[in-house]
């Protein structure tokens, strides 16, 4: 990656961080969970050019890569931004890769078989078929069946799509499963970010809540659990960064192993980390009033979206079993060094 790109990533991350610190948070999450579209926040996000950030500059975007996107998605997760921005960014990237200039506004990314986050709000919809054909549909006139995810409680809708307004073929390095893989990556990244927030809340609470005359965080039993949670946060962050880097180097199809690993590790981290954070918070964390659940419920939904741990683990496990024991270590070390020998 060039230094200019690194700089651009840094600037963008700082802007997103600042925007979400000011404008996002538990109150907005609650509003969105009632089905009210956070229009003002979306407008600000658009003003920063975020939806088209992954689109090449020639097509009106910022030309960022998947690794950059992962970093942005982690920030979205950490702030619990109640917007389907990650999916919109990925959809625009896939359109551009298929030679279609992405429209402005919210683009919903359809992952086969799954409900579409905030589909009702989309200006356009992107689908990818089994042959790697990307189709852009205008959303006007679509009959959305509205629903919501559980336990995430995010709006999630379904519709049938007719004739597209534009279509194009993805290059092989992105492949027919591009929507699924991008979806897995963006959910893993948002989990990694959300878990950071969850850990921070739990540490803060452990340092404040007093029992037996001292903060509960002074007890080793609590410390040991939070240390374990911190290890899960670190693992999730590394796994998604590695997947983003691999997708930049080898395309979404070539990064199958790393994306699968990221979804597995982030999914496991969501389970372990959320359980620890709730245990530390005890009863107050079980209330509607406390914001912890706004993050943990989302993580529980996100770990199931676009392939749960078991789905992705089976895939890479099957591939490794087929290759055999002698290839396991060479394959594990070769991906970022040379092409895997046959």
């Amino acid at each position: 990656m060039s230094e200019t790109n690194d700089d651009l990533r840094g600037i963008l991350l700082e802007q997103v961080e600042r925007l979400l610190t000011d404008r996002s948070g538990p109150d907005l999450l609650r509003v969105a969970e009632r089905g009210e579209w956070p229009a003002a926040l979306w407008e600000e996000v658009e003003a920063l050019g975020l939806p088209l950030a992954l689109v090449p500059e020639a097509m009106g975007g910022a030309g960022l890569g998947w690794g950059d996107a992962v970093a942005v998605w982690q920030v979205l997760g950490r702030h619990g931004a109640p917007l389907p921005l990650a999916g919109s960014m990925a959809a625009a990237a896939l359109l551009a890769a298929a030679g279609i200039t992405p429209p402005s506004g919210l683009i919903a990314l359809v992952v086969p078989g799954e409900a579409v986050p905030w589909g009702r709000q989309a200006g356009h919809v992107v689908t990818v078929d089994n042959a790697g054909q990307v189709a852009l549909h205008a959303a006007a006139g679509l009959d959305w069946q509205q629903g919501r995810s559980l336990p995430g409680r995010e709006p999630a809708d379904r519709a049938s799509f007719g004739t597209p307004q534009a279509a194009g073929r993805l290059p092989d390095r992105l492949g027919p499963e591009a929507a699924l893989r991008a979806g897995a990556l963006l959910h893993a990244a948002q989990i990694a970010g959300a878990l950071e927030a969850v850990l921070a809340m739990a540490v803060e609470y452990a340092n404040t809540r007093q029992q037996f005359g001292r903060p509960i965080g002074a007890f080793q039993a609590v410390q040991q659990q939070l240390a374990l949670c911190a290890a899960e946060v670190a693992a999730g962050g590394v796994a998604v960064a590695q997947a983003g880097r691999a997708a930049d180097r080898r395309g979404l199809a070539g990064a199958e192993f790393e994306i699968a690993s990221a979804k597995v590790v982030a999914g496991e981290a969501a389970g372990t980390g959320a359980a620890i954070a709730h245990q530390v918070h005890a009863a107050i964390g079980f209330t509607d009033e406390h914001p912890l659940h706004l993050f943990t419920r989302r993580m529980w939904s996100w770990r199931d979206a676009c392939g749960a741990e078991r789905f992705w683990a089976r895939r890479i496990g099957q591939a490794a079993l087929a290759r055999g024991g002698a290839a396991l270590w060479p394959d594990l070390t070769a991906r970022d060094e040379t092409e895997i020998s046959a």
């Binding site: 040991q224 911190a230 670190a234 693992a235 590394v238 590695q242 990221a262 396991l328 270590w329 970022d336």
Partner: protein, 379 residues
Amino acid sequence: MAGLRFDLRDTPATAPALRAELRAFLAEAGKDWSPMVRAYSWMGFDREFSREVGRRGWIGMTWPKAYGGHERSALERYVVLEEMLAVGAPVGAHWIGDRQSGPLILRLGTEEQRREFLPRIASGELAFCIGLSEPDSGSDLASLRTRAEKVPGGWRINGRKVWTTNAHLCDFMIALLRTSPVTDPRKKHQGLSQFLIDCRLSGITIRPILDLAGEEGFNEVTFDNVFVPDNMLVGQEGAGWEQATAELAFERSGPERYLSSLPLLIAALDDLRAEPAAPEVVGRLLARAATLRQMSLSVAGMLQDGKAPAREAALVKDAGNDYEQALPEKLRDLLDPIRTPPQVQEMLGYITMVARSYSLRGGTREILRGIIARQLGLR
């Protein structure tokens, strides 16, 4: 997160060629390694093998050539380490010298000590052990009592070290000893110093302690009026605690903290093909291995940049130990004892036993998590 960062690192451009060289060498050298040898790996001891590794330039790789080193990068060294561990090579005779005794001498030793020890460590001639734990001082290491008293021309040592891995086979020990008495229990970290001690000195008695597998792995080392000359003090008198804890970044950061049981997965994989539950279990193990490897590489990169990532190393070691301990249990669930080849079953048996040591050696799980908790801001 709370000051802990794990930036991605790439292995160096020389890695593929280096790996090819190592794999060819290890395939030949490892032809006859038993499942037990592979299960013990870096706790195992094979002096002839270590000499051969030294001859090939794979010990002291990052040290200056003037001291027998090879002036290669920390990440090239990392590649060598992980290739050795992935096949369970018996690297114990040079592991400690290469990992921490040599770097300590290079960093804080006198010129005389560097010239005396480093070339012989790098050639695989000199084997080191670490004298830290004592019968009454384990996790509370600073409470240690083995003392070195100043006498004309040197120091007189009395006391006892325990759990010293391979002391009965090693040439030298780097020991942490008390050189000033504790006057205030809150300041017990002061007054400690590090010494280079020839394991064959008069007054030293080394008694092997059989481990749970019946092997002579670790030892009790008794010092009875052992005289050590002045030039065997390492670094500064009284600064032993700071010196030893700085060493922990090296001791805890390597790939040996997550890879100890991976040879079992490699050995067992082909026999799992007919097991319907295997793909998911193997996939989860691989996802974690790939992630831990990146975390471990990240720490190696920090060391290469001259940082001392002690807390990051503690986190990766703890997560790695959980992984390498869980691996044999998960495979045991999949392997049918009747149909599994005896070689695989034997390695599973040994690793099941040896795995208990993973979360003890180099700092217990509880101590490591305490370090992470303090980093998080918990007191």
